[in-house]
Subunit: 202 residues, 2 copies
Amino acid sequence: MSSPPPTTAPTERPLRADAQRNRDSILAAAREAFAEAGLDAQMEDLARRAGVGVGTVYRHFPTKEALVGALVDDYFAGLATEAERALEDEAPWDSFEGFMWRAAERLGANRALSEVTADGQMREGAVRAGLDRMLGELIGRAQRAGVMRPDVSPDDVPMIMCSLGRVQLLGAPGGPDAWRRHLSIMLDGLRATGARPLRRSP
Amino acid sequence: MSSPPPTTAPTERPLRADAQRNRDSILAAAREAFAEAGLDAQMEDLARRAGVGVGTVYRHFPTKEALVGALVDDYFAGLATEAERALEDEAPWDSFEGFMWRAAERLGANRALSEVTADGQMREGAVRAGLDRMLGELIGRAQRAGVMRPDVSPDDVPMIMCSLGRVQLLGAPGGPDAWRRHLSIMLDGLRATGARPLRRSP
DNA sequence: CTATAATCGGAAGAGGAGTTCCGGTTCTGC
DNA sequence: GCAGAACCGGAACTCCTCTTCCGATTATAG
């Protein structure tokens, strides 16, 4: 995960065939397990899904956190792709909005991701993926076109995604699609139309 | 907590003087500990703050969860007061907005509350406090006056508070006041001005 | 003041989840 | 085909925190 096919750092010599196969199984199993159970997914369950022993999991990933890290990296790699795609679209508002919807969709696809949105780990991942720059461009473009309120900052995006993650974990009211309402309202708040100055302190 | 001065159910005979004193200390300590450390606060630390042994804590509250429950009840009692206050204010939008700000302020005052917003426990608490009815009134009033988009539902409020709770736990970007920006944007999205229909599915 | 019942304190118990360890097994280069 | 390195499996270990237990202590009734 996070690197091309061989899934091995370029400087190291390639894994033994069986080891490589196991590593791939483990990553796939981790994705599944964390997607379903969130961060509470247990290493033993994960190992069982991958068809290996826990020891083998630990041979490939030193800690549980490292496995989550792989997921996070994956997520941001996907976001970077979406951001590039959005930048190709010239429509100043729609490209931004489209990005937000797709990012939220990806976030919601894995429970562990939604749970982890408040962690510092996430922000580092975003930086690594070069998202900051692209987000800034997306937002700046919309603002110059006058369709987004001028006081929105790129930092607002992680904040919004973080809150969306929480709503995605929510059960009852609004059902599993409540987050769509949430994002919808939020986007309206970000538009230039009728917005009042953002409030910063009481 | 949750009941008037004697802090004892009316049907039981009063606690022994020392027991009552300890119970109060424990509640105060719990508030402090959970406010600072969130749900991770440990029973032993909490007992130390209260100046009693853990056994004494468990004599008064059967589980850790029961203690958190007391906090939650407190929170909703406070919200109910705020809602009544808001209903006395005739201004259809400002009364609603004022309620939201005050509710968020209370939520942010205790880390454990922010953490627990996604739990079902919370929703029961809200019902118990009769918040649903008052919220419905607050929202209906604003909608009839044409200052709030007509497709907002009372269920959106817990959703918004839940997401705010998450933002309040956030560290870096935006600083500790990021949630104010968040709520500010959200409120703009809820206004009638320039809103587009809420999106429910992709 | 004394008897007694309620209460206290904190050491020990219980359970759960991540991590380590090492004998046994399986590849890979020669 | 063989030797040796690399890898595997999963039982055992560690750590952590909630909860229980019971002898010692303290408040209240008579």
